[in-house]
Structures are given as structure tokens and as C-alpha cells.
């Protein structure tokens, strides 16, 4: 256990606050001071919520004093800035919402606050969650806490950077094609995307509604499990939310994998990520085996079409969802001679290049004459991908594969849009199939030209609703390997020099 409260796990902070050996107010003050000292060098937060954090911490302490037990008492929380929290600026990383104040709170956020979390701030993201590096944010730069010359991943890069740099004990992300798992891998964290529909999307600014899913970032599997147990479950405010009892996870973590069949994907196991990275994943699979898992080869023949499928479906849904940003009811308005010119100028000024690209490709894929050739064909490919997983899970309980093909890359390294899209090659198929999947730290590699070892993530994926088995297995792997503990982030305090772009 660390002596600095902010470096303790969420589970430990909650135990200490419930036992009244630590107050939520003290954790919060220490955390706000730490954020003030280091965030200039990291850029995790778009908005720090000093006043709300202090008020919330006081309420948590009062509830504990009144005899309540709160599963996440006093745990400092980083909220991705595409999630609404009443009275706070909620930007989606976009100029079109730069000054928008949320008038209500997202269900998943509300549930974590009810469980005792203290909101420290709203974190940076790729604009409207479209990207894999946070470089598409219109409002700020976020650096990787392990190397300031590198990206934190995305789109939930701010939440990942915050948890990695001890600026929060838990983070909230949203994952549409990998936006929790890839930044978790880049920042030495556990990042968990539950089954589609397990966590309410009410109050999450929509990107691609059939794919978007909220989930936690944490420094341990146990913390991710506690966060999931608190945020998950049915919500009548989200009609796609699954109406069946939540299987809680935190009390079911395991320390071995005996009796678990782990599928190794034939199509992903052909090597080609470079000798060092291939060896790292081969070792990870051997470690699963050493824990008692039986390794079996499985095939996902359609997975190679995941990227193409995703880059039709997600933009199609985004072009529809983002139609609401028209300058009429909220957000930016740029005046024009008539209402059409007002729409066109508002959206031209309010959206950044990646958002415009995706709206355009989605509009094209849905337009008359192309709908069947692109959108419907992609939806059929999606069926085939989901069927691949169903067949694979007939012979295995979980699938193991890389979370990303490389460690965190340097800023401006992926200037061609498609090269950025490729970062999600291993995470997109699970998103299209709606499956629960996570990334857990699995080792370190020093990238070519890099000066420091950077973290890598092992992706584990289960059948629909297999959250409990998935987190149990990740816990066993984490406890055996302890990769996350092997290096610490570099945190420059305010005034000290940090890396430059």
C-alpha cells in the first residue's frame, strides 16, 4: 500500500474512507493539489472541478459518518468529456460544444457518484470520440505519462492519462471501436468495454449508437471490476440497455485459470508485429497456460474485414447522430443569410477535419444509390463477424490477442487518416459483435527511436455477458505477471520542463 493516498488503488481508498482512517475530503485536497502540480505537463483534463469535488467529498464523508458503506467511498474519478454531468462544461472535445453546460447527468456517472466517487474533472478526448490518439481534440493536447513525446491513445486518452499519472484512481471512457482498450494499453492500465447494452448510454454524447459503450479505466483489475459493478445495469432512460440482472464481478476474481479454454486467433497469430512484440504476446499466451488455461486455436476468418465494416457503419451512424448540431438549440451558431447557410456555416466552423470526414463518408454511404452497396453490405459483414465469434466460442471460453499492434506512437506519426484507423484493427471486431473485452498490461517494449520502455496491452474477450469470467481471468493474469508495476510514469511538476511537440 502506498503512503500517498492518491497512489492507492480505488479499492484501498474506499476501504480507508469507509473505515474512517482517511477522509474523502483529504483524498480530494491531495488529489486537486497533485492535478494542479502535474496536469500542465500531461493535459488530462479539459476542466478541473475543484468546487464540485470538494462539495461531493464533504457529502461522502457525511454519508460515511451517518453509517453508510459506499463501495467507492472517496475514490477520485476522471470523467471523459463526452459524458454529461449537471452544471459542468461538457464539450466532446469540439468547438461546437466548447461552452455548453450539461443540464443533466449521465446515468453511468450518476451511479459512480452514488457509489461514493468524487469527480475531479472532465477529460480530453478526440473530438466526438473519433480518433485513436487524442490528437483530434479541438480543445487541448494530452501527453502519454510514460513519454511526453508520445500520444496517450484515444479516443478516451484524457481519462487514461489521468489514471496513469495518479490524477484520478478511476477513469470513465467510452469505446466505439477500441477507444477504451487502446489508450489503456498505451498508458499501462486496465481498460474494460462491457457487453453492448450493459452500461447505460443515457447522457453519453452519441457517436455510433449501435457500438458506443461506456466502461472503466483503472490501475488494477479489481478496481475496474468495482467500477463496472457500480455503473452497470438496466436503465429505463436507455432503450438499448439490457433488461436483465447485472452479474457483479468484483467478488468473483480468480487467481488461476484452471478449466478455462483460451482461444488464440489463427488470423492474428501469424506474427508481423516485429520480433520483439510477437515474442511479448507469445510469452503472454504461455503465462495464461502456466496459470492453468488450455490454449486452443480458433479462427475468425471475417475479422480482417472488420475495419472496412466499421468504417462504413460508424460514420453512417455518426452522420445521423451529429445532425443535431445545427446551431438551433444549443452550442455554436454562425449566422447566415438563410437557415441553410446558418446550418452550413455553423457545422463548418464547429467541426474539425476528422469529424467532417466521417460525416461525409457516412452521408455518402447512406445516400440514394449507395445505401445497399455500402451500408447494407457492411451490416451483413457485421453478421458474419458476429457469427465467427459464436463459432469460436463453441471451442473456447475466452479469446486472447493483442490490444494494439504497437506501443504509443509519437505525435503527428499518423497523419494519413487510414493509418490512424489501423490502430483499431484488433479491437474493432469485438465492438462490431457487441462482445465484452478488456486490455490488461502485458509487458514493455522500447519503440525504435524511443528512449523509454512503453507499455503494451493483452486483449481478452468473452462471449456476450461473460463479464465475470473475463475480469476473473484478467485478474489471475495480472496477479501472476504484475507487468504494470515494473515502470512508473514521468510526472514533471508545474514549472519544470516537459516534452515538446
Amino acid at each position: 500500500m502506498s503512503n500517498t493516498p492518491i497512489e492507492r488503488s480505488a479499492a484501498q481508498i474506499a476501504r480507508d474512507v469507509n473505515a474512517r482512517s482517511l477522509s474523502a475530503a483529504d483524498v480530494t485536497e491531495t488529489m486537486l493539489a497533485h492535478v494542479a502540480a502535474v496536469d500542465a505537463g500531461i493535459g488530462s483534463y479539459l476542466t478541473v472541478l475543484d468546487d464540485l469535488a470538494r462539495e461531493t467529498a464533504a457529502r461522502v464523508d457525511a454519508r460515511i459518518a451517518a453509517g453508510e458503506h459506499l463501495p467507492l467511498a472517496g475514490v477520485p474519478l476522471a470523467v471523459k468529456d463526452n459524458m454529461c454531468l449537471t452544471g459542468t462544461r461538457t464539450t466532446a472535445g469540439s468547438k461546437i460544444l466548447e461552452h455548453w453546460i450539461a443540464p443533466y447527468t449521465a446515468t453511468a456517472v450518476a451511479r459512480l457518484l452514488e457509489a461514493g466517487c468524487v469527480p475531479i474533472g472532465k477529460t480530453n478526448l478526440d473530438e466526438f470520440a473519433m480518433g485513436s490518439s487524442c490528437e483530434n481534440s479541438a480543445l487541448g493536447v494530452t501527453r502519454n505519462p510514460y513519454d511526453a513525446a508520445r500520444v496517450p491513445g484515444g479516443s478516451s486518452g484524457g481519462s487514461a492519462a489521468a489514471v496513469a499519472s495518479f490524477e484520478a484512481a478511476l477513469g470513465m471512457g467510452s469505446d466505439t471501436g477500441g477507444s477504451i482498450r487502446e489508450p489503456a494499453a498505451f498508458c499501462n492500465l486496465v481498460g474494460f468495454k462491457p457487453t453492448y447494452g450493459r452500461v447505460s448510454r443515457y447522457g453519453l454524447i452519441a457517436f455510433a449508437s449501435s457500438l458506443d459503450q461506456i466502461g472503466p479505466f483503472a490501475r488494477t483489475v479489481e478496481d475496474a471490476a468495482l467500477a463496472y459493478d457500480a455503473m452497470g445495469g438496466h436503465d429505463p432512460m436507455d432503450s438499448t440497455s439490457i433488461d436483465r440482472p447485472l452479474e457483479t464481478t468484483a467478488k468473483h476474481l480468480r487467481s488461476d485459470l484452471s478449466g478455462v479454454r483460451v482461444g488464440i486467433v489463427k488470423e492474428f497469430a501469424t506474427g508481423g508485429l516485429g520480433a520483439e512484440i510477437d515474442a511479448l504476446y507469445a510469452q503472454a499466451y504461455r503465462d495464461l497456460q502456466a496459470l492453468g488455461a488450455k490454449l486452443v486455436e480458433v479462427e475468425l476468418p471475417t475479422a480482417e474485414h472488420g475495419l472496412a465494416t466499421y468504417y462504413l457503419i460508424a460514420p453512417a451512424e455518426c452522420s445521423s447522430n451529429l445532425a443535431r448540431f445545427d446551431g438551433v438549440r444549443y452550442g455554436l451558431r454562425v449566422d447566415g443569410a438563410d437557415v441553410h447557410e446558418m446550418y452550413e456555416r455553423t457545422r463548418a466552423a464547429g467541426f474539425g477535419p476528422e469529424v467532417k470526414r466521417r460525416i461525409l463518408i457516412g452521408t455518402y454511404a447512406l445516400s440514394s444509390g449507395y445505401y445497399d452497396a455500402y451500408y447494407v453490405r457492411a451490416q451483413k459483414a457485421r453478421t458474419l463477424i458476429a457469427q465467427d465469434f459464436e463459432r469460436a466460442f463453441a471451442s473456447c471460453d475466452l479469446i486472447a490477442c493483442p490490444a494494439a499492434s504497437s506501443p504509443a506512437f509519437e505525435f503527428n506519426a499518423k497523419s494519413d487518416p487510414y493509418s490512424m484507423y489501423l490502430m483499431d484493427y484488433y479491437t474493432i471486431p469485438m465492438s462490431l459483435a457487441g462482445l465484452p473485452a478488456l486490455s490488461v498490461p502485458c509487458g514493455w517494449v522500447t519503440p525504435p527511436g524511443g528512449e523509454r520502455p512503453m507499455p503494451m496491452g493483452l486483449q481478452l474477450c468473452g462471449p456476450l455477458f461473460a463479464e465475470r469470467q473475463l475480469l476473473a481471468a484478467a485478474h489471475a493474469y495480472e496477479q501472476k505477471t504484475k507487468h504494470a508495476m515494473k515502470n512508473r510514469p514521468l510526472l514533471a511538476t508545474a514549472g519544470a520542463p516537459s516534452g515538446s511537440l
Binding site: W100, I101, P103, Y104, T195, Y196, G197, S210, P236, S239, T240, I242, E304, H305, L307, A308, T309, L312, A323, G327, V328, R329, Y330, G331, L332, R333, A337, D338, H340, M342, Y343, E344, R347, A348, P353, K356, R357, I359, L360, I361, T363, Y364, S367, Y374, V376, R377, A378, Q379, K380, A381, R382, T383, L384, A386, D416, P417, Y418, L432, A433, G434
Partner: protein, 96 residues
Amino acid sequence: MSSEKIDVRYVAKLARIALTDDEVERFGAQLGDLLEHVDSLAKLDVSAVSATAQVVESRNVERDDAITPCLDREVVLAQAPQRQGGFFRVPRIIAE
């Protein structure tokens, strides 16, 4: 499916986004590249496959037709770019 050239200006008009000449050229090239990549889907035989809009079980969700609390009108209008009384104000849509 074919990777014919996208009429970016037409698509941008459908999407209600004003583009500069530079953007038309740049996005046109980038979207053309992307369409070449997604053309790989043409290789899949999907003739006997049904389309998936959403993977997880879903059914129509209904609720009682009862009035429940919602945001106050003043709260909603407070962030309107332009308002008039209890309404959002927009440029004239129907010509005189």
C-alpha cells in the same frame, strides 16, 4: 461496389457542411482512399446473410403514457444561441 470518385460538394450539401475549395480537394482524395479500402467487402459473399443493425438482443421498449419529470423550459432555453420568449429563434425558413 466501386470506388468511383465521390462528388464531395454534393455530399457536403446533403450533410449541411460548407467546405472550402481546399477541403473539397483534400477530403475528396482521403474519402477516395478510404472507399478503396472498404471495397474489400465486395469480396465477401453476403447473398444469404441477413443484415445486423444491433448485435445484442433487442425488442421494442414501451412505457406507460404517463407524465414524468423533464428538464424545465427555462433550463433548456438558457443555452439557446438565440431565443424569443419561450421559443428558439432561427432565420426565416418560409419566404414571405
